[in-house]
């Protein structure tokens, strides 16, 4: 018998917490994107765990769509990072202070 779903859910919660903490504290835009990927993967793990628990393939379909959206998000996000780097020669988000009041 497989381990209980709660084990995987707690693991996913821990992974989401690490990703959220990294997103809030790191300064490099590229590493912040990686932390977003960690959070998305934590949610995917939750979806798959509930898919197994409820014996429903719908959770796995959701993960499939989350992966597609994550790929699109990374493409556009890294495009923005490249465009910002052209102007400032830095990927640090602390440099972007034009709209500071």
């Amino acid at each position: 018998m497989n381990v209980p779903a709660a084990w995987y859910l707690v693991l996913a919660a821990a992974l989401f917490g690490i990703g959220a903490f990294g997103f809030l504290t790191r300064r490099s835009a590229i590493i912040m994107f990686m932390c977003v990927e960690l959070m998305l993967n934590a949610v995917n793990l939750t979806f798959v765990t509930f898919s197994r628990t409820l014996s429903d393939v719908g959770g796995q379909i959701s993960v499939f769509f989350v992966m597609v959206v994550a790929a699109a998000e990374v493409t556009v996000g890294l495009g923005i990072v490249v465009a910002v780097f052209r102007r400032r020669a830095s990927t640090s988000v602390d440099e972007l202070t034009e709209m500071k009041g």
């Binding site: 381990v3 809030l24 765990t49 898919s51 393939v57 719908g58 495009g79």
Partner: protein
């Protein structure tokens, strides 16, 4: 002894995947060099793929490795090398006072709350599947068959919307990343 209630191999798989996932995630958090962080991210994604395999999501485990570890992380590495930022971009001291403490406290509070809710609430399990008309979750080739059938019938609309989303994001990325050059008859 609670551990003896479950089969030892499934416990071993869970422990290995948890170590891979958390070790990789902590690596992303702590490595100063973005290249090391990206390689650490791959480790974490392999752990997630292992957890998918252990939970009858065979197709998604393969897609996780091919799309995430194979394409997305390579895109990250490509941008890191292209920009030449394979060194630390972090300032010595944080500009915001107490940012780490506040972020840590907020994240710990939210995660503790979620885990507490999970531990104390009542779970409904074993309901018949809605998306596959009552067929239970299959493994192996049948898993791919189930996902394919559901994507092209129940979730066809969402599938077509993602196709549009991918086209839009590709056009957007090309437009963002190309060099700006002043066009004729347009004041810049």
């Amino acid at each position: 002894m609670i551990a003896l209630a479950y089969a030892l191999p499934s416990i071993a798989v869970f422990v290995v995947s948890a170590l891979l996932i958390l070790g990789g995630a902590v690596g992303v958090l702590t490595f100063k060099n973005p290249v090391h962080a990206a390689l650490s991210l791959i480790l974490s994604l392999f752990g997630v793929a292992l957890a998918f395999l252990a939970q009858q999501a065979d197709f998604l485990a393969a897609v996780e490795i091919i799309v995430y570890a194979g394409a997305i992380v390579v895109l990250f590495l490509f941008v890191i090398m292209f920009l030449g930022v394979d060194h630390s971009d972090e300032p010595a001291s944080a500009p915001l006072v107490g940012q780490r403490t506040l972020a840590g406290a907020a994240v710990a509070l939210v995660i503790a709350g979620v885990v507490f809710l999970m531990a104390t609430s009542h779970w409904v399990t074993g309901v018949p599947s809605v998306s596959t008309n009552g067929t239970p979750l299959a493994t192996g080739a049948d898993n791919i068959h189930q996902i394919g059938a559901a994507v092209y019938t129940t979730y066809l609309m969402a599938f077509e919307v993602t196709a549009a989303l991918l086209i839009i994001s590709v056009i957007g990325a090309v437009n963002l990343a190309r060099k700006e050059r002043p066009r004729v008859g347009e004041s810049q």
